[in-house]
Amino acid sequence: MSGFLSNLRLLRRMNWLMLAAIIGLIVIGVFFIYSATLMREDSTADLFRKQILWAVAGLGCYLVTAMTDYRRLRDVSWGFYAMGLILLVAVLFFGTRIYGAKRWLMFLGVGVQPSEIGKLAVIILGACLLSPPAEKYDRLFPMWRLFALAGVPMLLVMKEPDLGSALVFLPLVTAMLFVSGAPARPLVRLMAGGVLVVILVLSAVALPERLGMTPEHQETFFRTIRLSDYQRERIEVFLHPGKDPMGSGWNKRQSEIAVGSGGLTGKGFLNGTQNILGFLPRTVAPTDFIFSVIAEETGFAGALTVLLLYGVLVICGLYAAMVARDKMGRVLCVGIVTMIFTHAFVNMAMTIGVLPVVGIPLPLVSYGGTFMVITLFSLGLIQSVYVRRPGL
């Protein structure tokens, strides 16, 4: 009981600014989910109510996590990782197929995306492995082993297929290795290699002639790297915005128009014509494309506010890493911040058309129950690190 009380007292040391940013993002999300679903006739019309319930549940989870000592994760990190793998395998067999990809597992009517759990499991496992408890043990956990451990869930996510989500694993692991003191050069090389691969794929899609590829070569190449037709289509649309504006380029183009026409202050809440009239596809407006609804209706001012709130989140998260009492806390915070940052950055960049369309939601803002809970759980871990910082 006294343990509980002392934990409760610890909460007073929590980073309130970060909590404020979190709640700010959630509130913005709820408002614009309402806007994005206003014109829907079906049961999705009350998505925003569901989102409020999920947010409340998530915040509860957040507080409990913040009170719990993050060092206890050491005991469960492997178990959590194994569970993540099991779920990722299960989704390939029992997953619900939506638009040709199996990304969701249904539990009692609630959809769970195992890829989110997989990312968190890799972060937790990485934080434990990179900060060995034994005092003498100061040799760094081998880099390649961590990549291998992250590679398994990553490949499983690719198999769903969900290339966008799978690629998030890379910055996660890289950032954690980087701050835990891994030599910079191989990491830089790795990043450079990754960039090269991306450029190669992009040019294979866009300019096969330049690479001296015949169409047959091109086909073989895509088969070898397992790039599916829809992925190729999205890349083509990204590289040639004018191509097929009515078909596969639709979402991207409509999202850009929505954001661009928002102007400085937007068209006003519930007045976004792109959104209300259904040019932004209604199925993705409250989820992956929520940022374009916000940008359309509140303009640059509103979009910048969201950006700033993420900035606050990143600063608070990494500040927690800096003041953490041990290495595990540091690596854990960096991993989680990187995950949330990557999601937010990729999602917003995709919305304004500077990255290809991928199915990555905007953390805390997009509609999505389990993703909300998982995000808040992760942020609770950051607070757990923060409240246990040394001093006072």
Partner: protein
């Protein structure tokens, strides 16, 4: 501290580096947002302006179905709808006010229209949410009286207009219903609907030629651009791409003969096919009972559908091509031709008919219990003597008969452009072994020779048989659709006559059988005498085939005829369920049909035959 201070400082440095990278990226994103939203705002203003255009998919006018004399059997007729143009009657403020206004106006108009409106408050809300720039249809298919009352009315007509929607109509109602089929509301695939914000109801063939030639008749949908204002109401519109009308299909069918054929069997379940023996053109395909496709458009009423499907006489089934029957005696000409052609039998050979034929120790009865006495081929056909045909069938063997039957096209689909065509069956020893696991016996040959047993045919196949006998041995593929015409009536395609084969029969052999068939109708004692009409020489064959349980004693009556005998222009096959016999039941109906065809009495004025 487990790690040295240096290590920690090193790590902190790196965390700061990560932080600056992330903040840098966020700054970059902010910059791009600024450029997109503020600097380049005007670019998107223009896009947005273009965005205020909505594309409405315009269905193409559907091609018509014409008979050989270009009489329309299926066409498009205007359907007058009363529609509200919401952009003109909207009320400022909440949507509910506009909805209430629409409801008030509907209430006002109900008396004028004289019918309850088909839409509810929910429908209005749905329309506002989904199809705001399109007119809201409150009443469909207004009758002329209501249109007149609306034109005279002095009430406020702003925002109200008569809106014309094309609907499919079958001007001759149930004429050739089984051939034409009907249309229903189309389910647009995602591909078809892509790029359009709104679609209008479109038609799609669901049965018969409407379905078979759907792609040809549907044409290409066009698009209309509707410019809308900020709140989604229509502001202006323009046609962006005219729909391309579908092609019309021209049938070989002659609607006059079709009507005669349908009249001939209107009170009994059965089927009639009339072919042109010279080229296989299908002049009439009738199946009774029938249905009226006009009742099926735009949606088949559920009660009617259930009633039609529960009817034991199966009105939806095209019995002329989709039902198989035992042919009975009308098959005997095939037996005769096979026997003569094999050389086993000559036309002059006589067989004594004592009224029965012994198969082993079992007698097979002739229909005349007293026996026909000695009969030759011509007399045997005229009298339809079972004993004679069993005898010559056994003489030439079942293989010769089944080979010839197959050459006539029996046991295979003719390939006519109609739904669910049945192939029928020509029994062979191999077939019996495979399906019945039994050996072929002499009794099977006897049954086969007189058109009984497992042999089954469609009325269309029997019409082909009649046409082939009429033209002296050329099998044509029945041609129902002769060509395609564009909207102005110019020829797009002509489908050629398809000659399937010439039968390898000596002219003398054919001549002998045709003489027998001539006597069937023309001789005073012929079984088909009731089909005789003044002034036209005909040839034919009657048939009666038992079906169902033996104790029910149910019989199909058949008759095939061709006329005129010398230069045949018409070949007919008619089958009637529940007949006394082919000669008694079908003969008079064939007479009525032929009278009409040769211009005796118009079909509408003749009484029912029989």
């Amino acid at each position: 501290m487990p790690a040295g201070n240096n290590t920690v400082n090193f790590e902190l440095k790196r965390i700061r580096l990560v932080l600056s990278i992330m903040l840098g990226l966020l700054l970059l994103l902010g910059g791009m947002l600024f450029s997109l939203q503020v600097s380049r705002g005007s670019e998107f203003e223009e896009s947005l302006h273009r965005q205020s255009m909505r594309r409405v998919r315009l269905p193409a006018p559907r091609g018509r179905i014409l008979d050989r004399n270009m009489v329309a059997l299926a066409e498009n007729q205007p359907c007058y709808c009363l529609a509200f143009y919401l952009e003109e009657i909207r009320k400022p403020g909440k949507w509910a006010k506009s909805v209430a206004e629409v409801q008030r106006r509907i209430g006002e108009l109900t008396i004028l229209v004289g019918r309850k409106p088909v839409i509810t408050e929910d429908d209005i809300w749905l329309h506002i949410r989904r199809r705001l720039p399109l007119p809201l249809v409150a009443w469909r298919s207004l009758d002329p009286a209501a249109l007149a009352r609306l034109a005279e009315a002095r009430c406020d007509m702003t925002g109200i207009d008569i809106y014309v929607e094309p609907t499919r109509a079958y001007p001759k109602n149930d004429l050739a219903a089984h051939v034409l089929g009907y249309v229903g509301k189309a389910d647009l695939s995602d591909d078809e609907a892509a790029g359009y914000q709104y679609t209008l109801p479109e038609m799609e063939g669901k049965m018969g030629l409407e379905r078979k030639f759907d792609a040809v008749m549907a044409g290409e949908a066009g698009g209309r651009l509707v410019r809308i204002d900020a709140s989604g109401f229509k502001h202006a519109e323009q046609v962006e791409q005219e729909p391309r009308a579908g092609a019309s299909i021209v049938l070989a069918l002659d609607s006059r003969i079709q009507a005669l054929a349908e009249t001939a069997i209107r009170d009994v379940p059965g089927a009639v096919v009339v072919l042109d023996p010279g080229n296989g053109d299908v002049l009439a395909v009738a199946s009774s009972p029938s249905f009226n496709p006009n009742q099926f458009v735009p949606i088949v009423p559920k009660a009617l559908w259930e009633e039609l499907n529960a009817d034991p006489q199966r009105p939806m089934l095209n019995k002329a091509v989709a039902e198989v029957y035992a042919p009975g005696s009308i098959f005997k000409p095939v037996t005769a031709l096979a026997a003569l052609n094999s050389g086993a039998v000559s036309a002059g050979m006589t067989v004594n008919c004592p009224g029965y034929y012994m198969i082993g120790s079992k007698p097979m009865k002739c229909w005349n219990p007293n026996g026909h006495g000695p009969v030759d081929l011509r007399r045997a056909i005229e009298q339809s003597c079972n004993v004679y045909f069993a005898t010559i069938g056994v003489k030439c063997g079942n293989d010769a008969i089944s080979d010839l039957a197959s050459l006539f096209g029996l046991g295979a689909k003719t390939g006519i452009e109609l739904d669910r065509e049945a192939p029928g069956l020509v029994p062979t020893p191999e077939w019996k072994k495979k399906d019945w696991h039994d050996n072929w016996r002499i009794g099977d040959t006897c049954n086969f020779s007189i058109g009984q047993g497992a042999l089954s045919v469609t009325p269309l196949q029997m019409a082909v048989l009649a046409a082939t006998l009429a033209n002296g041995g050329t099998v044509y593929r029945p041609r129902l659709v002769t060509g395609l015409r564009d909207w102005q009536g110019n020829t797009l395609t002509n489908y050629p006559v398809v000659k399937v084969r010439e039968l390898p029969l000596a002219p003398s052999v054919m001549q002998a059988v045709r003489q027998g068939m001539h006597d069937v109708v023309m001789a005073p004692t012929g079984t088909g005498g009731r089909a005789r009409i003044p002034g036209v020489e005909m040839a034919g064959k009657t048939g009666t085939a038992e079906y169902g349980q033996k104790e029910d004693r149910k019989k199909h009556g058949w008759m095939i005829v061709f006329a005129p005998f010398d230069k045949p222009r018409y070949a007919v096959a008619m089958v009637v369920d529940d007949a006394v016999s082919g000669g008694l039941t079908v003969g008079p109906r064939v007479r009525e049909l032929m009278l009409g065809i040769f211009g005796g009495v118009p079909a509408a004025e003749t009484g029912a035959g029989g």
